[in-house]
């Protein structure tokens, strides 16, 4: 807006069309760079450089397959059904673990945030357990549960439990006490108070926990599948290593990256829907009035 208004002035001072063209070209570039699609410029350039390096045989193809070879591997494994099957298995494990661990963490977070007794009984124990790296439990989990589904579900659940627990607890605790006092003075019963004041107030913090948990979820799953599994993406990558199928190994890694991005995008959409009242999200939509 401002830029457009200074236009005629600039043109009259410089008395030439070239300066004017330069400014508008700069604006056009800016518009392109600020658009959403430009987030893909960097990753796509990396892939392009990678392809060029492989085509020019700058890298040995036995160690780093070209992007086209990876796509070829994806197509091949899709046809045999191996990729969709392993992808599905991993996805179910991730979601299952997130649902179980997330739900337990959420409930503990709410309970300890609302009830003093619950907090005294549970919080210090949980804070101690939080400092154990959950991946250190792998040997024990294999001994207890073998390498079946339970083992993976257990590890992912433990992994996502803590970020959700800690952030839910923090969210409930940081609900504005003035709002709680207002609601009580209007005689709001506890159930309504929770539904209308405490939970919405804690939600922004809970979302922070969820997004953090998503990262932990993939990390845990990949490690667990790489070490002890008979199916899943991690297993597929380890099998491929045995047979020196570098393209499949690289394919698995790329799929992790895409899945991670996908999970984050889903969380963002949820956030935008649930927190549409938040001034930060209203500005993004450009409708403050």
């Amino acid at each position: 807006m401002k830029r457009a208004m200074t236009h005629p002035q600039e043109a009259s001072i410089s008395s030439g069309g070239s300066a004017r063209g330069g400014v508008s070209r700069r604006i056009r570039w800016r518009a392109i760079l600020e658009s959403r699609a430009s987030a893909w410029i960097v990753p796509l350039s990396i892939v392009a450089i990678w392809q060029a390096a492989c085509a020019l045989e700058l890298t040995p193809s036995t160690l780093l397959p070209s992007p086209l070879a990876v796509i070829d591997a994806a197509w091949r494994l899709t046809l045999t059904g191996e990729l969709p099957r392993n992808l599905g298995v991993s996805f179910l494990r991730a979601i299952g673990g997130l649902a179980i661990g997330g739900a337990i963490g959420f409930i503990f977070g709410l309970a300890n945030g609302v009830s003093k007794i619950s907090e005294v009984l549970a919080d210090s124990t949980l804070q101690m357990a939080r400092n154990i790296p959950h991946l250190a439990l792998i040997p024990l989990v294999i001994l207890w549960l073998g390498i079946d589904e339970e083992a993976k579900l257990f590890l992912v659940s433990i992994g996502v439990f803590f970020p959700i627990y800690v952030n839910t607890l923090h969210g409930v605790r940081s609900v504005d006490p003035q709002l709680v006092e207002m609601a009580r003075s209007y005689g709001m019963p506890s159930r309504e108070l929770f539904r209308q004041v405490v939970l919405p107030g804690a939600l922004p913090s809970i979302f922070v926990g969820l997004r953090y948990a998503l990262g932990v979820m993939w990390l845990t799953l990949i490690v667990a599948e790489t070490i002890a599994a008979q199916s899943g993406l991690g297993y597929m990558a380890m099998q491929a290593r045995e047979f020196m199928q570098v393209d499949v190994v690289v394919l698995s890694i790329l799929i992790y990256a895409l899945l991670g991005k996908l999970a984050d995008s889903v969380a963002r959409v949820l956030e935008r829907v649930c927190l549409s009242w938040h001034p930060a999200f209203q500005r993004e939509r450009g409708g403050a009035s």
């Binding site: 709002l179 207002m182 009580r184 003075s185 209007y186 005689g187």
Partner: protein, 259 residues
Amino acid sequence: MTIVETAVDARLAPGVSVRARNLDKSYGAKRVLSGLDLDVPAGQFLAIVGRSGCGKSTLLRLVAGLDEKTRGGVSFGESAASHARDIVRVMFQEPRLLPWARVLANVEVGLGERRGGADGREQALEALRSVGLEDRAKDWPSTLSGGQKQRVAFARALVSRPRLLAFDEPLGALDALTRVEMQRLLETAWLRDGFTALLVTHDVAEAVALADRIVIIENGAISRDIAVDLPRPRRRGAVEVAELEEQILDYLLGDAAGR
């Protein structure tokens, strides 16, 4: 919400008398209120003024049941058993709107158990209309100005059909024009609905403009009790209004000089 409608239900009869006896409140070693007695007849508009830290807000919080008293008692009307929560509504210095609820939903908080009832929404809209914000019903509170937020809070208090409405300096943070506008709104609602009003303020002009009676609190007790017998609506700058305001200010300031 019309007068006829409220009069139909005897249980919701507007205006309740307040009786506070020998009220004591201490925070640790600091004694904020000591042996305070106060009687407010039903439907009276009482202003409580005093220097900051004199205990006027504490008195309001005790009457509203927001804080526990150290000693003494507060009762409403004839029945001693009734609880402050069912009778008193408070307008705080801050609007205290739920940021995640639309303006209308915020007003509906005041409906309490009547929320979700057949005409609950209609009553909330009516209250919003009475403060002139009907067209903002679907907006988020964060898009309103400070004065508009306070008007929504006022609509929320009105829709709860208060028998005693306590104001804890609700206009303190507003600009001069919005203040005058809010004062008029407040007076109109009080005249229409007939609730008992308790206004805590440090603005003497505001107290003189609105109240039937002004009490001055000093050292945790009532030091002056002044009946304001001026016709309404009171014009700002009218001679009697200005004289009374001057008199109270002199008292408050003279007292400070003497100490």
